[in-house]
């Protein structure tokens, strides 16, 4: 009979005690889902990888600040969202300062390297997300792709539940109007 998998809270406790294997286990458990979230928010695999690394390093440094009031995954998500916002802001500043022609915004290699059906779906969704403002993109991704509840989204973003509800509604209205032909 195999060992029961340690809970996230138990992994955090072990990391605090200096257990490096617990840190690796936490990364293995949540790394890919966090990467997927970062990718859908940023549209770039390399940026997403950087953000995921920053997220886990940031979490490692701030272990003492984690009080266990929220789930570990929610806590990691909140750290990741902060890092994606910072990265987006810095890219916006760099883009405004640059006099060169901007490079392609997204990582094309991921779009062309997969089977046809998956590529179409991925291109459509990423194209849709690219048309949204950062605030709308966040709530759509957290709800439609991550499946978080309104309360969980509110906690992750640090906004009231009502704000989540209205942002989601406006984001869907936008997508519905832009892609009316695609959705009928």
């Amino acid at each position: 009979m195999g060992q029961l998998e340690a809970s996230d809270a138990e992994l955090v406790r072990r990391i605090r005690a200096g257990d490096g294997t617990a840190f690796r286990e936490l990364v293995d458990r949540h790394g890919n889902s966090l990467f997927g979230l970062a990718y859908t928010l940023l549209g770039s695999a390399s940026d997403a990888e950087d953000v995921v690394q920053e997220t886990f390093l940031g979490a490692f440094r701030r272990l003492d600040a984690f009080e266990g009031r929220s789930a570990v995954k929610t806590w990691l998500t909140r750290i990741l969202l902060n890092h994606t916002s910072k990265l987006r802001r810095s890219k916006r500043v760099r883009k405004a300062e640059s006099t060169e022609t901007p490079a392609a915004a997204n990582d094309r290699s991921l779009r062309t390297g997969s089977p046809a059906v998956a590529v179409d779906s991925r291109v459509d969704v990423m194209a849709m997300l690219d048309t949204l403002s950062p605030d709308h993109r966040q709530v759509i991704v957290l709800r439609e792709l991550e499946g978080l509840s309104y309360e969980e989204i509110a906690e992750a973003l640090g906004v009231p539940r009502g704000t989540v509800e209205s942002r989601l509604h406006r984001a869907r209205q936008e997508l519905k109007q832009r892609y009316a032909g695609y959705l009928t």
Binding site: G31, F60, D64, V125, L145, L168, H169, R172, K176
Partner: protein, 147 residues
């Protein structure tokens, strides 16, 4: 564009986030409002588009790299130690700067151009002005004339 007043609730209804009372109210409304029913249908299609999406996964070596135990220098104990050292060094630097400024203030030459000052600090003698020499002459004259 759906201008029905109930449309604001459709997103939360679609996500199952309404209270039982509000859910019942919307369901009753949907029977009589084709615009809201059509909008709800589009929300459902949007969700199915997202449901078919699979984001890329991290390459296994990237995941391994992230999961490698953080470098020794950012081990939490060492980080705290380094942070403490940095704080102490900064405090010493501030204190040393303040002490040096204070010392400079104490040893700064007085602006008094008295003869005593000239005698004690001959290298500070201001030869561009006649004042110190005139005063020295007066002093010498005074000494010579003393009985």
């Amino acid at each position: 564009m759906n201008t029905c007043s109930h449309s604001q609730l459709l997103s939360a209804y679609h996500d199952g986030e309404l209270s039982p009372e509000d859910r019942a109210r919307v369901e009753g409304h949907l029977r009589d409002c084709p615009a809201c029913a059509a909008e709800l249908e589009q929300f459902a299609r949007l969700t199915s588009v997202f449901a078919g999406f699979e984001p890329p996964r991290l390459a296994s070596d990237a995941l391994r790299r992230i999961g490698d135990e953080p470098p020794i220098w950012i081990q939490r104990g060492y980080l705290r130690f380094v942070e403490s050292l940095a704080g102490i060094a900064a405090a010493i630097l501030v204190a040393a700067s303040g002490w040096m400024l204070y010392q400079q203030r104490d040893t700064a030459p007085p602006r008094d151009s008295s003869i005593a000052y000239v005698v004690v600090n001959p290298d500070q003698l201001d030869t561009s002005s006649e004042a110190p020499s005139a005063r020295l002459n007066d002093w010498i004259a005074g000494e010579v004339q003393r009985p």
